[in-house]
Symmetry: C2
Subunit: 474 residues, 2 copies
């Protein structure tokens, strides 16, 4: 029974090793012969399919249309927008040959698709009647990272990228924030992540964007994971690409643009927020299997009861599976814990005679006995409770790792002693941001939009312009 | 009104140009700055999403699990299976640089993923208890084609590839045929394609397969489109990759393998089978929008009625849209024809006063008047009728282009005079197949499994071993 579990390193001893153990033991990911790339195994991919399905419905409800762009970008096209190419060129994979022939122009595998969309927009946008254009693409992108970690930083990334074009600045700014809100709500409600949101600094914003809004999730170890961004581009790309439309005054003008994306990083965030030394813990709303049903022994009546329960769960659209393997009950229980099914149900002949089953919550490992007739009702309630408990537990932990630093000395002391995010007053100058980065290793996480500074910049002493979070990051 | 339509070349005059006109005018595809790659625009992608959603449910019902493999294949991995690399190496795109660094080993973008799956299978298959492994992946692949045509032959292809591993030869052969049947049924029922099915010859089978089953759809011009294949690999890849498992007798043996795939080619097949000089024609079961509702004039009561009809359609899960643009009715009608919505509904103030609407079938362009109360019922019936009519019409046309040739002279005469497939007796020797190819340009389509030869090979005169179809292909 303990075999599976014993192989998991304690998260308090070695968080990085613990993370690797979890994704391997829970069959989420495997390494491949392709350096830096991961295999997303069926269980991991099923989580991604759930994420996709929920977000895709939301995008479509708001009027976005899916499409598919080429995966290659000719070098000349990547070069059109100067900030953009500067940001991405160092980390792209270059295709130089087709079969045995050298290409006339090399092409990179898309690290993101702004330039491809702009190239297309230029052809199809002619009038204000064509706007807004609300497009989205589900695909993989490639960034040639030196060091990789599954889900967090990988050479190939599964993601979604929205690209929209608007008649007015106001509309485009609204879209940027609207989609940002979709991400935030999704992560709170479905992934049970108590995320912190705000605006990136000039230094940290997306290459080519006027503004970048970021979702910053704090992991169990106090380190930040940037977990989704939404960008307002203004007319920068439109001007560089010569995208123009006839406005309502019959004048040729440039449209306003946004883009926004989330990736399989979110799966990494779920793991590093909710899981424990027993294995994976999944929020019920995103778990591919909500309940694992484990019949104990080979009893016909037990089997019948389990099948009846599954049938009832299925009618309520609660995904469950029955463990029919020939492993021992103890092994099955441990496996259910490692895999992070929100609830496991145990029932043997004696339970049946007593008219009850045992439910085990994965979040607390608490056992609950319930009479058979009430099983489905209890499961429904428990799933809600677990979802809520995971959020609250993560929120409490996160809050315990949020700090205020009123002086740079205090800031450095916190950095040296406590993991987490540190809030400061900041003058808004990149020099101070750089100094913090150089001296402490911490990067700015986000400018807090709803909070005003209440003191001087802790670095230079000039008037504070922003409240801002700093933290280590993945 | 006629403007949109006039721009479509007649399919009897210039089929290739007609095809290009249809995909451009119906907004299915756009060309991009990436040579040989296409942009699948939202309307085209919505068709693909429908295809995906139906097939994916079917795969999952049969126990297949989705996952995601890397998109790159290191050269050494591609080289493991000799037949396979011979077939694919000439047409792959090679990545040689990551950022500014030359890679130690170049990698190709997957042209198909057998070797990646085998590399993974080797690690995860240990015992007969791990079998069968039923995996599927939705992704894009790259093949460096010299000449391309959207949906038919493109450098980047959206597809699905199933990869399965089995304990016994019998199971693997059954799986090969089972998934082949899934494709065949899907194409007949949903795409209304009267496909011909059979086995590929040695010459035409997949590089590395023991047997390839193929779906051959005949286009309006009599030319074949290979529209889905299912392969039985035997133990070839398993041996090359050293994949072994402990069988029930506790002996280490190689498993038996299959793979199967369909692509966006199916969209090409729909177009070239059902569409006409007025534009796209889509089978209702696969059309993203089943009914386009066109209110005529700006009448409040008309608008209200149209909204009510849409509401009722929506309750029956019949996808409809309302054309609320400020174009003229005539323009809207023409556009609905070009876009191939199975039914368009027209209603103006006078219709409303008379208590009726007009429905126009896209397949026949026939107009049907119906009382408002019966609209939804009539639409339901019409959609079924259209689906059936498209299949029957295509079947009749296909049958009119199937020929028997009893001698090689007869064969050549048919080739020179009539488009279509020609059935012959064949000895099974590649020499005869090659001769036909060289002298007439026709390739073998498929060996007809359910039919026995009834004469000598028309080329060499040796005893006939197979009934086989020959035909030109896309």
């Amino acid at each position: 029974m303990a075999k599976l579990v014993k192989d998991i390193t304690s998260r308090d001893e070695d968080f990085a090793q613990w993370y690797t153990d979890i994704i391997k033991k829970a069959d989420l990911v495997d390494y491949s012969s392709v350096k830096g790339s991961m295999i997303v195994r069926p269980y991991g991919y099923a989580i991604w399919e759930n994420i996709q399905s929920i977000l895709d419905k939301e995008f479509k409800k708001l009027g976005h249309l899916n499409l598919q762009m080429p995966m290659f970008i000719p070098e000349s096209l990547l070069n059109v927008e100067k900030e953009h190419v500067k940001g991405f060129a160092p980390e792209v994979a270059w295709v130089t040959h087709g079969g045995s022939e050298l290409l006339e122009e090399r092409m990179c595998v898309r690290p993101t698709s702004e330039v491809l969309f702009c190239d297309h927009f230029k052809k199809i946008i002619k009038s204000y009647r064509d706007l807004p254009l609300l497009y989205n693409q589900w695909c993989t992108i490639v960034r040639w990272e030196k060091t990789t970690r599954p889900f967090l930083r990988s050479r190939e990334i599964l993601w979604q990228e929205g690209h929209t074009m608007h008649e007015t600045e106001r509309e485009a700014r609204e879209e940027t924030k609207r989609m940002f809100k979709v991400y935030e709500d999704f992560q709170r409600e479905f992934l049970a992540l108590p995320v912190i949101t705000g605006r990136k600094t000039e230094k940290e914003k997306f290459a080519g964007a006027e503004e970048t809004y970021t979702i910053e999730a704090m992991m169990y170890d106090g380190v930040a994971l940037q977990n989704g961004t939404s960008h307002y581009f203004g007319q920068g790309f439109a001007k560089a690409f010569g995208i123009e439309f006839l406005n309502r005054e019959n004048k040729l003008v440039n449209p306003y643009q946004t883009s926004w994306g989330v990736t399989t990083r979110m799966i990494g965030a779920i793991i590093m927020t909710h899981s424990d030394d027993q294995g994976l813990v999944l929020p019920p709303k995103i778990a591919p299997t909500k309940v694992m049903l484990i019949p104990i022994g080979n009893d016909e009546e037990v089997t019948k009861t389990v099948l009846e329960i599954q049938e009832k769960l299925s009618r309520k659209e609660i995904a469950s599976r029955i463990d029919t393997t020939d492993k021992t009950p103890g092994f099955k229980f441990a496996e259910a814990e490692v895999k992070g099914y929100p609830i496991r149900l145990e029932i043997g002949k004696r339970d049946l005679e007593a008219g009850k089953v045992t439910l085990v919550r994965r979040d607390t490992l608490e056992k609950v006995e319930v009479v058979i007739e009430k099983t489905v009702e209890k499961i429904e309630n428990l799933l809600e409770e677990i979802q809520e408990n995971l959020y609250n537990r993560a929120l409490e932990r996160r809050n315990s790792m949020l700090y205020n630093a009123n002086t740079y000395e205090e800031f450095k002391m916190i950095v040296n002693n406590k993991p987490g995010f540190i809030k400061i007053n900041w003058c808004g100058e990149m020099a101070c941001e750089n100094k913090i980065k150089e001296e402490t290793g911490l990067k700015s996480r986000c400018i807090i939009e709803e909070e005003q500074p209440d003191g001087k910049c802790i670095v230079c002493g000039k008037p504070g312009k922003y409240k801002i979070y700093f933290g280590k990051q993945y």
